[in-house]
Amino acid sequence: MATMNMIQALNDAHKVMMRQDEDIVVFGEDIGYFGGVFRVTEGLQKEFGKTRVFDAPISEGGIVSTAVGMACYGLKPLIEIQFADYIYPGYDQIVSEVAKIRYRTAAEWTMPMVIRTPYGGGIFGGQTHSQSPESLFTHIAGLKVVIPSTPYDAKGLLISAVEDPDPVIFFEPKRIYNGPFDGHHDKPVKPWSKHPASEVPEGHYTVPIGKASVVREGNDLTILAYGTMVHVALASVEEQGLDAEVIDLRTLVPLDLDTIEGSVKKTGRCLVVHEAPRTSGFGAELVALVQERCFYHLEAPVERVTGWDTPYPHAYEWAYFPGPKRMKKALEKVMAD
């Protein structure tokens, strides 16, 4: 066991997988010699050479499309899009090609690739370095969407993603790369080393795709969250003195509906939390599923805590971010009757 932050855990996952599978190639903007703007690919080019780890032109469409060609050849591309906000030039290739090639060729060709990309705000990145576009991908048949919230899960889920036969969009919550953020931006940052999930086993292990994690058991209500918001939610329920059950979804597609359903039927109340804008966010899907499955067990309307339906505003970051105040208000509402 070693103590790692999320960046180190992701870096370690790359090394473990690249050592055992020579067909894995890693490329993206600034990821080679320099090791990536967030350092996730640090040291990989030195260990695995320039033909397996290399810098790409500033062309997300080119990165994704050449990865498609490589996957057709038989390689396993593990590519980085520098910020989720930059993924849109590659969106046509992801939606029209990556997601559909297995289907349209009746599995003659498949797309075992992983597209990693840091997402989310709270780092003063302004509207082009803070977005949470996960629902644009959960809507696309053929893609899997994974979002870890701890170093342990980050490594185990990335290894699972690399071993998965289907394409995986792997969103990394960049606000918690270096420590679990509880939503209190005015307080000192806690490092991962104080968190039990920073204990990361050496070598190969997996965290299954499609399985949620109950990170806090409780009976008052169920909170559904992923990424950074798992930690914000955990802090909020402690502050409100609630015995909440907090579920870290970890995978949005395929969704672990059994865990969600079991929990909501037990607690009778549900709060859905994400940083992405409210309208047509993944929370809308979660609320719909919960009412379809658990309507007669619900004691209060299902509530949502989300970002606002605006672009991510630079100077107003903390007025945008769904932090402790928004959480408190929603928790009071869900618990009211």
Binding site: V25, T51, R52, A56, P57, S59, G61, G62, S65, T66, A67, V68, G69, M70, C72, Y73, G74, L75, P89, D92, Q93, S96, E97, I101, R102, Y103, R104, T105, A106, A107, E108, W109, T110, A141, G142, K144, D164, P165, D166, G210, P254, L255, L257
Partner: protein, 422 residues
């Protein structure tokens, strides 16, 4: 804005938007006499190892081998054995007959859609002949000649067109969107130009693995305007990928002439200059020129000389697809007036001229091709035509979205089956 003309206010000329117009519209008499057609044999053939810049004069030239006297001339003459020439001719004739039969099948209501490549047969057929059998193609939708040249069963093609019981793509794809790994033919996408940078990725992978196989990507003149074209040539140039990038300039993208894709300003081959890759412009109706150009680019790529961008200059003799009527936007006799001729007739005339062919053999060969297409059609139609499909096997609709059917999708499959029984 005030009531005064803003340009006058600044004492400057009025800015004008230029919207390109094709030279001829319905009712006009097409006249291509101003088109510069260099004589066959006039373009120099540089060594395949030259610096890319040395090829750049060829981007405004036209590599041609077959001259007006039907002889093969000049440094690009590939000097093919008569058997090879006859094989190329036969494949081109088969493509044309296949197109006619399938066009008619669509008109008879046997399928929803078809796309012919009439007038462009030489390009895919001769390119396939010039590459090795295990080289890879990322085609667009008018390269049926690749499959036919490589011996892909005609019945398989028709099964796909009819989406019938024999369709290996299980009725999921629009007619002619073939896919076959065994024949090195990547699945055609209806989203244009997506395959162009994918071809570069495949070639990069071959280089990463130290393979000796190369790759050829295909795009039409219209789709060169897509960002994917730029990605493709950029990545090919940056990584010196062993790839041949073919632009089939048939001058029409549905109703938009090539000027709408930028052809008034430069040839498509000239784009190679800006990227610093080898480039050339080739008479796409001259099977020997096509063969020679692809062979040149293949030799360059195999020797780690990098990518070549080739523009095949041709003319789309018929509509874009069965859903298109070109009489609405261009003169109906324009194809006849096109000065580069019919690729099938040109190769046939060459074989006759060199004494390796005669009319009797041509008639017999045409009859054989026709018979094989008819036999394949009969065979395929035994497995059904489109209007009969879509009722059985509804459950297969949910396969291959993922490697395994997720539970949520299995529930939708059950609902679809129940709906179909109700």
């Amino acid at each position: 804005m005030g009531d005064k003309d803003p340009a006058l206010r600044r004492n400057a000329p009025k800015l004008e938007l230029h919207v390109p117009e094709p030279p001829f519209r319905p009712g006009d008499t097409p006249d291509f006499s101003s088109l510069k057609v260099p004589p066959a044999g006039s373009a120099p053939r540089p060594d395949t190892t030259v610096a890319a810049t040395e090829t750049h004069p060829l981007t405004t030239e036209l590599v041609r081998v077959l001259g007006g006297d039907d002889k093969a001339v000049g440094p690009w003459n590939p000097k093919l054995a008569p058997d090879t020439l006859r094989k190329i001719l036969r494949d081109m004739v088969t493509v044309r007959i296949f197109d006619d039969r399938m066009y008619r099948a669509q008109r008879q209501g046997k399928t929803s859609f078809y796309m012919k490549c009439t007038g462009e047969e030489a390009i895919a057929v001769a390119a396939a002949a010039a590459l090795d059998r295990d080289d890879m193609h990322f085609p667009t939708y008018r390269q049926q000649g690749l499959l036919i040249s490589r011996g892909y069963p005609l019945t398989e093609m028709m099964n796909q067109i009819y989406s019938n019981k024999g369709d290996k793509l299980k009725g999921r794809q629009l007619p002619i969107m073939y896919s076959d790994k065994q024949h090195g033919f990547f699945s055609i996408s209806g989203n244009l130009a997506t395959q162009f940078p994918q071809a570069v990725g495949w070639a990069m992978a071959a280089a990463i693995k130290g393979d000796s196989r190369i790759c050829m990507g295909w795009v039409g003149d219209g789709a060169t305007a897509e960002g994917d074209f730029h990605s493709a040539v950029t990545f090919a140039a940056v990584y010196n990928a062993p790839v041949i990038l073919a632009v089939v300039n048939n001058q029409w993208a549905i109703s938009s002439f090539s000027g709408i894709a930028g052809a008034e300003r430069a040839t498509f081959a000239q784009r190679a200059v800006g990227y610093g890759v080898a480039g050339m412009r080739v008479d796409g109706n001259d099977a020997l020129a096509v063969y020679a150009a692809v062979k040149w680019a293949a030799e360059r790529a195999r020797g780690n000389g990098g990518p070549t961008l080739i523009e095949f200059f041709t003319y789309r003799a018929e509509g874009h697809s069965t859903s298109d009527d070109p009489s609405g936007y261009r003169p109906t006799n324009e194809a006849k007036a096109w000065p580069l001729g019919d690729p099938v007739e040109r190769l046939k005339a060459h074989l006759l001229t060199i004494g390796e062919w005669d009319e009797e053999r041509h008639s017999a060969m045409t009859a054989e091709c026709d018979a094989s297409v008819r036999a394949a059609q009969k065979e395929s139609e035994k497995l059904g035509i489109l209007p009969e499909q879509g009722k059985d096997g509804i459950e297969t609709m949910f396969d291959d979205v993922y490697a395994e059917v997720p539970r949520s999708l299995a529930q939708q499959r059950d609902a679809a089956l129940e709906e179909s029984r109700g």
